[in-house]
């Protein structure tokens, strides 16, 4: 399996939590936002988004709620829970330490 896919697989939950933490979103909006904010780098397989969202919901990290849009259509918005915020903060701290350590080894020129 390719390295990039493995990296994405390991970071999916954190990416989703991070986006939902900024503002409640529905599935399609999450896909578009991931693409936009990563300048097209993250092109999620759309069908795999919902299992990931439902997994996070079952773990109590987010919760979904049907809401009506101004045009009368309904969308299932996801909100982060307190538990989700706590897990996100922990993961962010780990990620920052990890990324700093990797940079120190892979880009040592500045030392």
């Amino acid at each position: 399996m390719n390295y990039e896919r493995e990296l994405l697989k390991g970071s999916t939950d954190s990416l989703l939590l991070s986006l939902i933490n900024n503002q409640p979103m529905y599935g399609y909006q999450i896909i578009k936002e991931l693409e936009r904010r990563s300048n097209g780098y993250f092109q999620f397989k759309e069908g795999t988004l919902y299992p990931a969202l439902h997994r996070l919901e079952k773990a109590g990290l987010i919760y979904g709620k049907w809401q009506k849009l101004p045009n009368g259509q309904e969308r299932r918005y996801y909100y982060i829970t307190l538990k989700g915020q706590k897990i996100l903060a922990e993961r962010l701290a780990i990620w920052q330490d990890f990324s700093t350590a990797v940079s120190l080894i892979m880009q040592p020129a500045s030392n």
Binding site: G27, K45, E46, G47, Y50, P51, R76
Partner: protein, 301 residues
């Protein structure tokens, strides 16, 4: 609805196998996603059919999406797992503590099994209900058998009224469990070949009286139903369908070997083979029945 979209959601529904409420929510959510994507593609100049075609392709195969969502919800809690193993454990306890010949203990177990089944049936048919449901059918069948052996008008009553009624009940219960998931039907029928196996083993042993035989085999019978309890509990905790099915087939085979070992001297190999085939049929049969139902349902009018 565009045919490709219709077919996509039919397949998605077929493989999701979730509680009806949850299933409706998941389908609605994915449907809105598909509509958003199709709308965007139509705005880019594609026809409705082309847009739906591409949108479903981007979403991925419905079987894969359904399987991944199924695996999120398929793992029951430890409490549900315990509830699913409990009816088998009750039967095991009856034999382990030699309460099987005490009418009062049998009545308590019977009332408990029927009450829990009715409660579960009226409260959304949760995953732990199906082993209880299987045991609830046993007294219904046993009463029919008893009625047939009664003299005079009772046997006619049994043949003309009770047996058709029982068949109707069994068919509707099986249909209802198949609608949910064929694996639950296999779980429900799990004790049937084991019970038949023990009856055959006990009937074949003519050296001892019936009561003495049960007394003699009680520890083994208790052990076999304890293994069934482990099978039901493990089934609930497994996520993947193949693992659930594997648990049932492996643990039932172990129990079957135990019964054959206990009654080997008195029963012919052909009889054991027939019981083994019945067990296999009761495990795989529901899958075939479900396929048949689905095919009949999806046939165009």
């Amino acid at each position: 609805m565009v045919p490709i979209k219709l077919s996509y959601f039919e397949n998605l529904k077929r493989y999701l196998r979730l509680d009806p409420g949850l299933e409706g929510d998941v389908i609605k959510e994915i449907c809105t996603h598909l509509e958003d994507r199709s709308h965007e593609l139509k705005e880019a100049g594609l026809s409705e059919e082309e847009a739906t075609n591409i949108a479903t392709r981007i979403l991925g195969p419905p079987q894969l999406v359904a399987r991944q969502i199924y695996e999120v919800y398929s793992q029951g809690t430890w409490r549900q797992s315990l509830c699913a193993g409990l009816p088998h454990l009750l039967i095991a306890l009856l034999f382990a503590l030699h309460f099987w010949n005490n009418v009062f203990s049998l009545a308590i177990v019977l009332v408990l099994v029927v009450s829990v089944t009715i409660y579960g049936w009226c409260h959304g048919r949760p995953n732990w209900l199906f082993p209880w449901l299987g045991y609830s059918l046993v007294p219904v069948i046993a009463t029919g058998v008893l009625l047939i052996y009664l003299p005079g008008a009772w046997s006619w009553f049994a043949i003309l009224a009770y047996v058709p009624l029982v068949l109707l009940v069994i068919i509707s219960v099986t249909k209802a469990s198949l609608k949910r998931d064929w694996l639950f039907t296999s779980l429900m029928l799990l004790p049937l070949p084991i019970t038949i196996g023990w009856i055959v083993a006990l009937l074949g042993n003519t050296n001892l009286l019936w009561k003495e035989q049960i007394q003699h085999f009680a520890p083994m019978i208790a052990l076999s139903f304890s293994v069934l309890a482990i099978a039901a509990a493990t089934f609930i905790r497994m996520r993947q369908r193949w693992a659930k099915f594997g648990t049932l087939i492996v643990l039932e085979s172990i129990v079957f070997i135990m019964i054959v070992y206990a009654g080997k001297s008195s029963v012919s190999p052909v009889t054991w083979l027939l019981i083994a085939l019945l067990g296999l049929f009761l495990l795989i049969g529901p899958a075939l029945l479900e396929q048949n139902f689905t095919r009949n349902h999806s046939k165009p009018a």
